[in-house]
C-alpha cells in the first residue's frame, strides 16, 4: 500500500502553483517598475540637456559680443556623456530596435552635431585648440569591423583627453545627419572617420590611427588635459565612440 506521505494532494500542488505564480509575476512587475523609474530619470536628463543647449546657444550669442574665454562647454560635454551611458542601458533593456531607444538616439545625435558645430566655431573664431573626429558606424551586419573601430576610438578618447570624438549611426533616419553626411560627401563604405575635412574609409588599426592623427596634430600635446577656462574642461569627456548607442 502506498504510504500516506507519498500520496499526491492535488489541492496542495495547485495552491503552491498559484503562490509560485504570484512570486514569479511579482518579479516581472518589479523589473517593470525599475525600468519605468529609469525612463523617468532619462526624461529628467533630457530636460537638463534642453536647458544646456539653450544655455549653449546663449553662450554663442554672448560670444559674438564678448571675449572668447567666456566659452565653457564642459557641462554640456558631461551631460552628453551621461546621456550616452544611459542610452547604452536603454539599448540593453529594450533592444536597439525599440522605438523609444531610436527616438533618444536621434535626439542624442542632434546634440552631438550641435556640440560639434560649437567646438568648430570656437576653434575658428577664438583660435582654440579643439581637435575633432567624426566617426560613422553601423550595426554588425552592415559593418562587421565597426565594433572594433569604436573600441579603438574610445581608447583614443581616453588616451588623448583633448580629442573630441563624435560618433553617428550611418543608417539612422535623421535629416540633420543626412545633411552632415552630404557636407562631407560620404559613401556607404563603413567605418568612416572624418578628421578636419578629410574622409577616411575602412578600418584603421592603432598605428594607422596614430599616423593619421599625427598629420593634423602633435599627439603628445593631446595627452595633456586642457587647463585654461577658455578650453574644454579637464573633467569633460567627449561622447564615447562605441558603435552601440
Amino acid at each position: 500500500m502506498i504510504p500516506q506521505g507519498k500520496k499526491i494532494n492535488p489541492l496542495k500542488y495547485l495552491s503552491v502553483f498559484l503562490f509560485t505564480a504570484i512570486i514569479f509575476g511579482s518579479g516581472f512587475l518589479l523589473s517593470d517598475y525599475i525600468a519605468q523609474k529609469r525612463f523617468q530619470q532619462l526624461d529628467v536628463l533630457q530636460q537638463n540637456l534642453r536647458t544646456d543647449i539653450l544655455s549653449l546657444e546663449t553662450q554663442f550669442s554672448v560670444l559674438r559680443q564678448a571675449p572668447c574665454d567666456n566659452l565653457n562647454e564642459s557641462t554640456l560635454t558631461k551631460e552628453l556623456y551621461d546621456v550616452s551611458q544611459k542610452l547604452s542601458e536603454v539599448s540593453a533593456d529594450l533592444g536597439e530596435k525599440s522605438p523609444y531607444y531610436l527616438q533618444l538616439k536621434k535626439y542624442y545625435s542632434i546634440m552631438e552635431i550641435q556640440h560639434w558645430l560649437l567646438v568648430k566655431q570656437a576653434a575658428k573664431e577664438c583660435s582654440m585648440p579643439f581637435h575633432t573626429i567624426i566617426y560613422f558606424y553601423a550595426d554588425k551586419e552592415h559593418c562587421p569591423s565597426c565594433e572594433n573601430q569604436g573600441y579603438l576610438l574610445t581608447y583614443f578618447r581616453e588616451k588623448y583627453p583633448s580629442l573630441r570624438i563624435y560618433s553617428f549611426d550611418f543608417d539612422l533616419p535623421l535629416s540633420a545627419l543626412q545633411a552632415l553626411k552630404s557636407v562631407f560627401g560620404l559613401k556607404d563604405n563603413l567605418p568612416v572617420i572624418v578628421v578636419d575635412k578629410d574622409v577616411y574609409y575602412g578600418f584603421k588599426d592603432k598605428t594607422q590611427l596614430e599616423d593619421l592623427l599625427g598629420k593634423y596634430v602633435n599627439l603628445e600635446s593631446l595627452e595633456q588635459k586642457p587647463v585654461a577656462s577658455s578650453t574644454p574642461s579637464s573633467s569633460a569627456a567627449s561622447p564615447p565612440a562605441k558603435n552601440k548607442k
Binding site: P3, Q4, G5, V16, A35, Y151, E158
Partner: protein, 411 residues
C-alpha cells in the same frame, strides 16, 4: 537566445515552486520536526556494523565514539568487518575488542563495502541493525535519537543528520553549507516519504527489511542509494532523525570531491534506470515527481551553466581581441577610476535573486534546525558562488561516464 531565456525562466519557476512546496510542508509539520523525547526503560537490541577497508587513521575515532554512545551496552553490539585491509585496521579493531566486550571483529577477503555490510548483517544479533561508515564520528546521542523513530511500527529505517566535522578550506566550507541545507531538505522529503538514500554515515534498519527485500547489492558503487530505492520500491517508509548527528570528513580537494560526487550522481542515474518504476506517479506519488524534478533539474542546470560558461568564454575571447587591437596596451583594460558596475534589474536577474535567496534560506534553516553553531555567512557565499557550477560539472561527469561506459572505482 529565446530558448535559453525560456530555460532560465522555467528553471527559476521550478526552483521557486520546489521552495514554496518545501516551506509549506515545513509549516504544515512544524510540530513534527523532532521526535518527542520519551523516557524509555526498555531498549531493543541494536547491532551496529562498521565496514572497514584500510581505515587505520579513522577506526579509533569512530569506534571510540560508538563505545561511549548513550545506549545500554548490554543491548548493543558493534560488528567491525575488516574487508581485507592491508594496513593496521584489523589490529586496531582487535585492540579495541579487548577493552569493549560488545565489539566483535570479523575479517574477510576484500570484496567491496556491500559484502562487508552483508557479512555483518548475517552475523547480527540485534532486531535493529545500524550501518556506520568508518570515516565518521557518531554523536553520543545519535544511536538513541535515530532509533527513536523506529518506535513507529510503520517506519522501516531511520537515517541520521550528516554534518561536516571541521572545514579548513573553501571547498570544505562549501560542503559544510551543503550538508546543512541537505539536512533540512531531507527532513522535508521524509514528510513526502521520499527519502532516496539510507546514508552510509548512519542509518538504522529493522532486521526484517533485509529479510523481506534482501541484503545489500553492489549497485553501481552506491549501495546505500540502491537500498533506499529498493525500500521505496516496496513502499517501506524511511524517516529522518534531524536531531541525530553523525560527523563526516569533507573532501579536502577538488579531485577527491569530484570522484565522490561522480560516484553519487552516476549511482543515482543508474539506479534510477534500474528502478524506473519509481517514476510512476500513480504508484509512487510525491516520490515520482521529486525524482523527476531532480532528473529534469540536472539537464536544466547543465544547459544553463553551459550557456553561462559559453558567454564567459566569449567575453574572455573578446578581451583578448581588444588587447590585440590595443597592441598590448594593458593599462586601458583596467579602469583608471573605480566605478560601481551598473546593474540591470531585468526580470531574469530579479527572479534569480529570488531563487538564490531561497537556496540560501535552506542553508540557514538547516543550521537552525540542527542547532549548529558554526559561522555560516562566508560559507554560504562560497556555496552561492560556486556550488551550482560544481554540481553541474558532476552531472556532466556522471553522464559522460555512463554514455562512454567508463569504469569507476570507489572514490
Amino acid at each position: 537566445m529565446a530558448i535559453i531565456e525560456f530555460l532560465v525562466y522555467t528553471a527559476v519557476f521550478l526552483a521557486l515552486y520546489y521552495g514554496a512546496f518545501v516551506f509549506l510542508t515545513f509549516f504544515e509539520n512544524k510540530n513534527r520536526i523532532y521526535r518527542p523525547s520519551v523516557k524509555r526503560r526498555v531498549f531493543p537490541f541494536l547491532t551496529v556494523i562498521l565496514p572497514c577497508f584500510n581505515e587505520e587513521e579513522n577506526i579509533d575515532a569512530v569506534l571510540g565514539s560508538l563505545c561511549v554512545s548513550d545506549y545500554p551496552k548490554d543491548k548493543l553490539e558493534i560488528i567491525v568487518v575488516d574487508d581485507g585491509s592491508t594496513d593496521s585496521t584489523l589490529a586496531k579493531a582487535r585492540a579495541f575488542q579487548e577493552n569493549c566486550p560488545f565489539v566483535r571483529v570479523f575479517h574477510k577477503e576484500n570484496g567491496g563495502k556491500y559484502t562487508a555490510l552483508n557479512l555483518g548483517i548475517q552475523n547480527a544479533r540485534g532486531d535493529f541493525i545500524g550501518c556506520v561508515d568508518a570515516d565518521c564520528f557518531v554523536d553520543r546521542f545519535a544511536l538513541k535519537n535515530t532509533l527513536a523513530y523506529l518506535d513507529d511500527p510503520e517506519i522501516m529505517a531511520s537515517v541520521a543528520t550528516i554534518k561536516i566535522m571541521k572545514s579548513k578550506n573553501i571547498l570544505e566550507g562549501i560542503q559544510t553549507a551543503e550538508y546543512l541545507g541537505s539536512a533540512f531538505l531531507r527532513k522535508i522529503a521524509s514528510f513526502w516519504d521520499s527519502i532516496i538514500v539510507t546514508s552510509g554515515p548512519l542509518s538504522i534498519f529493522r532486521k526484517e527489511v533485509f529479510q523481506k527485500i534482501g541484503l545489500y547489492r553492489q549497485a553501481h558503487l552506491t549501495e546505500d542509494l540502491e537500498m533506499a530505492f529498493r525500500m521505496q520500491f516496496n513502499n517501506m517508509r524511511i524517516a529522518h532523525a534531524l536531531e541525530a548527528f553523525v560527523y563526516t570528513k569533507a573532501r579536502p580537494t577538488l579531485k577527491s570531491l569530484c570522484r565522490q560526487r561522480l560516484r553519487w550522481q552516476r549511482g543515482f542515474l543508474l539506479n534510477l534506470r534500474d528502478y524506473k518504476e519509481l517514476l510512476n506517479f500513480r504508484k509512487h506519488g510525491n516520490l515520482a515527481l521529486f525524482l523527476l524534478y531532480c532528473f529534469i533539474g540536472a539537464f536544466m542546470s547543465m544547459a544553463i551553466v553551459s550557456y553561462g560558461l559559453f558567454q564567459l568564454a566569449k567575453a574572455l575571447w573578446g578581451g583578448l581581441g581588444h588587447l590585440w587591437l590595443l597592441q598590448g596596451d594593458f593599462s586601458y583594460l583596467f579602469p583608471r577610476e573605480f566605478s560601481w558596475p551598473v546593474l540591470h534589474f531585468s526580470t531574469g536577474l530579479i527572479l534569480n535573486i529570488f531563487s538564490l535567496a531561497l537556496i540560501i534560506s535552506f542553508l540557514f534553516v538547516g543550521k537552525k534546525l540542527t542547532f549548529d553553531k558554526i559561522k555560516l555567512k562566508s560559507k554560504a557565499i562560497y556555496y552561492w558562488l560556486f556550488y551550482s557550477y560544481l554540481a553541474t560539472f558532476w552531472w556532466v561527469l556522471a553522464f559522460y561516464s555512463i554514455i562512454f561506459k567508463k569504469k569507476l572505482v570507489w572514490g
